[in-house]
């Protein structure tokens, strides 16, 4: 195993901050009550939940802690927002507008609703993964009941023009929801300035524990519940609350808010160093999404290396102690190339070579240099093993990143050899 470990997958997981863990500790063995209980143990943890609500409200500048609702994670918060708002407005209409690059938890919730008679429009994004608010405006029909656009994209870090979309939504009186799971803790969020009626996130993306998600929603976002039972969360989300995780998540939110300027400054510096290093040291490598700056999450580095595939890179990086995600992101078991990379028009073959790195507060500059060095080495190794690299050298196929004008495209080539296979299988 490698002597050095560089964890670059902070969108998948972050270690719980020791201060956060300390705050959680008593809630397992000592302060173990159920918030629904009327005796001292129950009342004591009710106080703890109230405090966490305030801390979460503080992170996103919500007007009141009562606008904070606890779920089990980002996915459930997204399901609750999409389905809950859709069901609550069923009488007004059945049309939902989303960006085409939403997270699967949004896309699959929408797919479920389609079976129940709802319809939707997907707004396209540009080459940088950013949508045009005018396209949202144009997609609105008199049946539109919900607009859902994520704040930061989970794959390529693009920041959406939320405040502008918020203006449009508010003007038209349509509920506006934003999935901020990939941004909360790393990009400032002000729900009032953004004009959202609902917004989701999960503290395990910013040094809080797993097992808790947050759905902010103000009075304008009517919501029916999707997990039924007791009257927890004012009847909006049944089930015993995950008290220790909520307490820890609350503190993580408070710390994230307080330390945000330093965290952003730090990861943005690393991001630039990493992007520059990779672009310089690894030939035929492309950075996906917007350049460092106001349109990109400071913690995301998404790249595509030509002529080789992503999983091999991930495995070799891991062997060298560098932990990253491949194009499939959270959905590692699916064979499909990320729909986000397709949406920004990335060549299919290039998308297969995609790697997502997400930076954290404990990464260092020397980590970045090590990653660049390692990446250069393993890309070279994988290319010597790749038939495509050969054929590129021989001029049979061309590069999409730096076209030379000779040879067919990788995609054409792949189609040709895959065609061969399909012939075979039909004659079997």
């Amino acid at each position: 195993m490698a002597s050095r470990t560089v964890f670059l997958d902070h969108l998948s997981a972050t270690p719980v901050d020791p201060r956060v863990f300390d705050a959680m500790k008593p809630y397992f063995t000592e302060v173990f009550g159920n918030p629904s209980s009327l005796h001292r143990y129950g009342l004591q943890v009710r106080d703890a939940l109230s405090k966490a609500r305030e801390q979460f409200a503080f992170l996103i500048n919500a007007e009141s802690p009562e606008e904070i609702l606890f779920t089990s994670g980002g996915t459930e918060a997204n399901n609750l927002a999409i389905k809950g708002i859709a069901y609550a407005n069923q009488r007004k209409g059945n049309h939902i507008i989303i960006a085409e690059t939403e997270h699967p938890s949004i896309l699959e919730s929408i797919a479920f609703l389609e079976k129940q008679g709802f319809t939707h429009s997907k707004v396209r994004v540009d080459k940088l993964g950013i949508l045009n608010p005018d396209d949202v405006r144009n997609a609105i029909t008199d049946k539109t009941i919900l607009i859902a656009v994520h704040h930061v994209n989970h794959d390529i870090g693009s920041i959406q023009p939320i405040a502008e979309i918020g203006k449009i939504a508010n003007e038209k009186g349509i509920a506006f929801f934003s999935d901020a799971t990939a941004s909360a803790g790393w990009v400032p969020i002000d729900v009032r300035a953004m004009g959202v009626n609902a917004l989701s996130f999960a503290p395990h993306r910013f040094y809080g524990p797993k097992g808790v998600g947050v759905l902010y929603r103000n009075r304008k976002a009517r919501l029916v519940s999707i997990i039924h039972g007791g009257v927890q969360e004012n009847g909006r989300r049944a089930g015993t609350e995950n008290v220790p995780a909520i307490v820890g998540g609350g503190l993580a939110a408070e710390l994230a808010r307080k330390e945000m300027p330093q965290r952003i400054e730090h990861v943005q510096k690393l991001q630039k160093r990493l992007m520059d290093g990779l672009s310089t040291k690894v030939p035929y490598l492309k950075i996906n999404g917007p350049p460092c700056g106001p349109h990109r999450s400071p913690s995301n580095v998404s790249l595509a290396t030509e002529f080789i595939e992503g999983e091999g890179q991930l495995l070799l990086l891991d062997h060298h102690g560098v932990c990253v995600a491949s194009g499939g992101s959270c959905v590692s078991k699916s064979l499909k190339v990320s729909h986000v990379l397709s949406a920004i028009g990335l060549d299919h073959a290039l998308a297969q070579g995609s790697i997502i790195m997400t930076l954290g507060k404990d990464n260092t500059e020397s980590d970045m240099d090590y990653v660049v060095e390692t990446m250069a080495k393993i890309v070279e190794k994988l290319r010597t093993m790749s038939p495509m690299w050969d054929e590129f050298q021989q001029g049979k196929i061309d590069s999409t990143i730096a076209p030379r004008g000779i040879g067919k495209s990788f995609t054409e080539h792949a189609a040709a050899v895959s065609g061969h296979r399909e012939e075979r299988s039909t004659t079997r």
Partner: protein, 142 residues
């Protein structure tokens, strides 16, 4: 991480063939070359063979694909060396899976691709040497 166990996506055998692939490369004056791709996942595999006296003398691969695709082609070329064309035509992906000590269900298709690349290379050889198969067929019906 505190524990010392090495956590890897695939078992040790697969990891070994991925990290240290056998028979990686091209055969300069190959007798048969097959290149196939899997439309679903986008992997591409190329196998070249050196054949003499109806036997596979050498096999090499190049693969664009995930860890198990690389390991599968490495293992397939290992297994096939020394076999007769006749035997090689009966080669099945299951041999690769078994020799690798198993693959995750979603990765079985990688071994199928290796089988297909090998068969494509054999077909290429047969196209150029039709007598080889006739010979093989006579041998088979004997």
């Amino acid at each position: 991480m505190s524990d010392t166990k090495e956590y890897t996506l695939y078992n040790d055998k697969v990891m070994d063939h991925f990290m240290n692939p056998r028979n990686m490369g091209d055969i300069q004056d190959a007798d048969g070359v097959g290149e196939v791709g899997a439309a679903a996942c986008g992997d591409i595999m190329k196998i070249s063979l050196k054949i003499q006296d109806g036997k596979i003398q050498d096999a090499r691969f190049k693969t664009f694909g995930c860890g198990s695709a690389i390991a599968s082609s490495s293992m397939a070329t290992e297994l096939i060396k020394g076999r007769t064309i006749e035997d090689a035509l009966k080669f099945s992906n299951q041999e690769v899976v078994d020799a690798l000590g198993g693959l995750p269900p979603v990765k079985i298709h990688c071994s199928v691709l290796a089988e297909e690349a090998l068969k494509a290379a054999l077909e290429d050889y047969v196209k150029k040497h039709p007598e080889a198969v006739e010979h093989a067929e006579t041998a088979a019906t004997k």
